[in-house]
């Protein structure tokens, strides 16, 4: 396990929607070490504004040395990222943090909401390499269908069942993606969740109740991503602070203080 600061050339830019983009970067050293659930810290500007790197999950890595990032424009940093061109270089530090636990031959369920879908594609690919169960399912949620459809296609191509939900009902189940979880809990052994905190809480509660192993990927503001600044703390279930970048971002559901 090693970490690199790697100047990475952008080899492809895809805009899935006007605000959701996917960058493919040539970053062989990061790609070579990456594990599902890990993230990179990306420098979004050559100037000092914005100053801090942005944490982004590793969406996919490929044996040709590329890393993919999937992100949504929410502020100035992601806006600058969205304005990048093929051939530009991005300075990335990674792979960082503790990823998901991969178990052989376990039926699993992935639950992704919004950009929480990003790390799950990498995870799905790796899981399907070591575990092919007909019960294994991917649940995807988004505000509206257009944000979801292109991603759903790609999960389907991996050869596993996908169920979708949208807040506005424009595609799939009309409602929260977590509502799709109930039927599955009896059949899967492990649930991996990434998305907005309230959604992860609901999923975690359901799993904890049913005794199904559950891992969640947390988000907090990060300055370093390396465990050095101590800025990314969240209260843990045991009342002690956890550092999301180093102790996580992936945590067993029971380690999180959900009541916060």
């Amino acid at each position: 396990m090693s970490e690199f600061q790697e100047k990475s050339r952008i080899v492809r830019i895809e805009s899935l929607t006007p605000v959701i983009h996917r960058l493919t970067l040539h970053a062989p050293r990061i790609a070579g070490q990456a594990f599902p659930g890990q993230f990179v810290m990306v420098r979004v500007s050559p100037t000092f504004d914005p100053l801090l790197r942005r944490p982004l999950s590793i969406h996919q890595v490929s044996s040709d040395g590329t890393v993919q990032l999937l992100f949504k424009v929410v502020g100035q940093g992601t806006r600058l990222l969205a304005g990048m061109r093929t051939g530009d270089y991005l300075d990335m530090v990674g792979p960082l943090g503790r990823g998901f636990t991969l178990e052989r031959d376990e039926p699993f369920c992935l639950v992704g909401g919004g950009m929480g879908i990003a790390p799950l594609y990498f995870l799905a690919k790796r899981l399907l390499q070591i575990s092919r169960h007909p019960e294994s399912t991917v649940l995807l949620g988004a505000r509206t269908g257009s944000e979801l459809l292109p991603l759903e296609q790609e999960f389907l191509r991996l050869g596993c069942p996908v169920h979708s939900a949208t807040d506005d009902g424009s595609y799939g189940h009309h409602g929260f993606v977590t509502e799709l979880l109930d039927d599955l809990l009896a059949r899967v052994r492990r649930v991996y969740v990434c998305g907005p905190f309230p959604m992860m809480r609901i999923a975690a509660m359901k799993c904890l109740e049913r005794g199904v192993a559950c891992e969640v990927s947390l988000e907090t503001h990060m300055a370093c991503g390396l465990g050095a600044c101590l800025g990314c703390t969240m209260m843990g279930g045991d009342g002690a602070y956890m550092h999301v970048c180093k102790d996580g971002p992936v945590f067993p559901a029971e380690k999180v203080a959900w009541t916060l």
Binding site: L52, M222, G227, A228, C229, M235, Y241
Partner: protein, 314 residues
């Protein structure tokens, strides 16, 4: 000597009190963890030195989140001095770092003069510690929470107490949140400090206008990064012109050009802080860049440019 060999042979050594450093580029406390966090990204042994995260007698949990927020060309932090405490530092963190051969300076903090003294005493004789840096930006609980670093007499008494207990070089780290930084520097110089380092963070604040809450749970926090460099450089210049002990410049240093500004202003060494977060390679790039600058200007040693600013007033 041709430029290339001049570059390889460049003498970057500086002395802080009785401590000899191979080059003047250190990493600042609280921005480089206990060193190990950067082990994959930085050649720790190449650094002039590493100032570790501030250590207190007992472990501290720190402040509730949110603890950091980005600002224009800077960031605010209210970590709340979270640290593992001196015992775990000595037992768990120091041995690994010592093995790297890095020059280790331990940043210490306390709520009373007595705590500072006990920390210095506890660290005396511990192998692998090259110096102490005394963080006096902390509130003095016995004096109603006024920061040690804002009252000359209080700063002096912390300095004396630490010097009395310590067997290594002692740097006192000054707070910039004062009317007269020179007065503070003189007070700790007289009290026996071997060097001063400055600046610690400026006190600042940010508000989330949608929730109408402070962006930091602690309400106020410390401002660091390129935004504060002009203030830091001014203070370093003023202090370096007024004290005889070495001055270590800190504040927004990201590039070799930044570091050279501080050296010209009179700093004997510099510390790289927030830049470690957004540019982990910064400290090493600065060492290279200083070497290149010195070679280009025909210098044989970094010491030739320290205090080399020409104000036309000399």
């Amino acid at each position: 000597m041709d430029p290339v060999s001049a570059k390889n042979d460049m003498d970057l050594r500086v002395r802080i009190g009785d401590l000899r450093l191979p080059n003047p580029v250190l990493t600042a406390s609280g921005t480089f963890g206990y060193g190990r966090e950067f082990a994959h990204l930085v050649d720790l042994h190449r650094l002039g030195g590493i100032v570790v995260k501030g250590i207190s007698l007992e472990p501290r949990p720190g402040n509730p989140p949110p603890r950091i927020v980005e600002t224009a060309c800077g960031m605010l932090n209210a970590i709340g001095l979270e640290n593992v405490g001196v015992e775990r530092f000595v037992g768990e963190k120091l041995p690994w770092l010592r093995e790297t051969g890095a020059r280790i300076i331990v940043n210490i903090l306390g709520d009373s003069v007595d705590e500072y003294a006990r920390l210095a005493g506890r660290l005396a004789g511990v192998e692998g510690i090259s110096g102490l840096e005394v963080n006096i930006s902390c509130p003095n609980v016995k004096r109603g929470g006024v920061a040690f670093g804002t009252v000359p007499e209080m700063a002096a008494s912390v300095t004396e107490a630490v010097k009395a207990e310590s067997d290594v070089m002692v740097i006192v780290k000054l707070s910039p949140n004062v009317t007269d930084i020179v007065q503070m520097a003189r007070a700790v110089e007289e009290a026996g400090a071997d060097a001063v380092s400055l600046i610690n963070t400026l006190i600042g604040m940010a508000i989330d206008i949608e929730s109408r809450r402070p962006a930091l749970a602690n309400v106020i926090g410390g401002l660091s990064g390129p935004a504060i460099k002009p203030v830091a450089l001014r203070m370093v210049y003023q202090v370096a012109s007024s004290v005889r002990i070495p001055v270590i410049g800190i504040g927004g240093i990201t590039t070799a050009d930044d570091a050279i500004e501080f050296l010209l202003a009179g700093a004997t060494a510099v510390q790289v802080g927030t830049a470690n977060f957004y540019q982990p390679s910064a400290a090493e790039e600065i060492i290279d860049g200083i070497t290149e600058y010195l070679a280009r200007h025909g210098h044989l040693s970094v010491r030739e440019i320290i205090g080399g600013l020409q104000t036309g007033k000399e």
